[in-house]
């Protein structure tokens, strides 16, 4: 095997490890990550095997004649969920296969994807509030209940992000605290009797904290046989849901709502 081929395999292994770790951290399912990594590896004339662990991904790249391999372990970066990154990385894998772009170009494209700024946090907060208010409407809450849910969601979402991203609080504590604040605000419907559906306002005010993507990914992992990932994601999501429940209960207890 020539030195050029060795270096090429090594570079491919490094790129694929970073690629896989980024896709998983952005919220991609294990099956999707595996497929795209295999697609890129085949396009570069190599074979790749990936081992996905809860916080790490191990990528092994074999050369054409399966005589030499490189293994690279990459920690999942704390980038947060990002559907834009997932779809662009998936698109990149197709570009590599169909358009035959070189490894260097693929790296440049990867860097440009990662440099793309995220949506304005104020816009995201506003849209989350509107989405949660729409949930309230779906459960037949009235307009005033929707307004309460909107305020509770914007408030709680902002607090959660500030505590987790700026104050570096543990995500579970941040969720618990945000759920508590949101539920206290949603209890305004019970206090002031300003809505006919205060129970729906209270119930839907914390829905934005439900970790939906980890739950969906854990089911996807279960179907595709990634049992370790499935269990890990499910437990993580369950812990967050438990924190949400505790926060909601604390809010209800603080406001002394005799509903149940």
């Amino acid at each position: 095997m020539t030195t050029t081929n060795l270096n090429s395999s090594k570079e491919t292994a490094h790129f694929l490890a970073t690629y896989a770790a980024t896709m998983l951290a952005a919220g991609g399912s294990s099956a999707r990550c595996e497929k795209t990594v295999h697609r890129i590896a085949e396009a570069y004339g190599t074979t790749a095997e990936i081992t996905i662990l809860p916080h790490t991904v191990m990528t092994t790249v074999w050369d054409k004649d399966h005589s030499q391999s490189f293994s690279v372990g990459e920690k999942l970066p704390a980038t947060g969920l990002n559907f834009y990154v997932i779809s662009r990385l998936s698109r990149l894998s197709w570009d590599v296969r169909d358009n035959g772009i070189t490894l260097e170009d693929a790296k440049n494209e990867f860097r440009s994807i990662m440099k793309k700024p995220r949506l304005n946090p104020w816009l995201v907060t506003l849209l989350t509030g509107l989405a949660n208010a729409s949930f309230c409407r779906l459960f037949e809450g009235d307009w005033r209940a929707m307004l309460i849910v909107f305020i509770a969601t914007v408030n709680g979402f902002w607090i959660k992000n500030a505590l987790h991203k700026e104050w570096k609080w543990d995500i579970r504590l941040a969720v618990l605290f945000a759920a508590c604040c949101s539920s206290v605000i949603a209890c305004a419907g019970f206090m002031f009797h300003c809505t006919d559906t205060p129970d729906i306002a209270l119930g839907t005010s914390v829905l934005y904290l439900v970790p939906g993507i980890p739950y969906i990914n854990s089911v996807s992992d279960l179907i595709h046989g990634h049992l370790l990932c499935c269990i890990s994601r499910f437990i993580e999501a369950s812990v967050l849901t438990a924190c949400l429940g505790i926060g909601l209960s604390v809010g209800i207890l603080l406001m002394n709502i005799q509903y149940f």
Partner: protein, 82 residues
Amino acid sequence: METYRLVILAISLAMPLFVVALKKFTFAFQNYKKRTLSCQEKLFLNNECYDYVTAGHMAEEEVMIKDNETGMVYDDYELEQL
């Protein structure tokens, strides 16, 4: 309607403002602390903060101290005289 419920509701509504204010205060405090500490790491002499500077003498280096206000640089002997 109990007052405490109103108070809790008001606190929850004002929580984002409280978080921002606390963040700003912490940032300012950390900056102040960092400034003081960096001064202590240099040298405090007669309530003044001095920089350590080094001046090369052949292969050796001699630690010297610079007065930030006057720009004067003192060596060990001169420092003892101050």
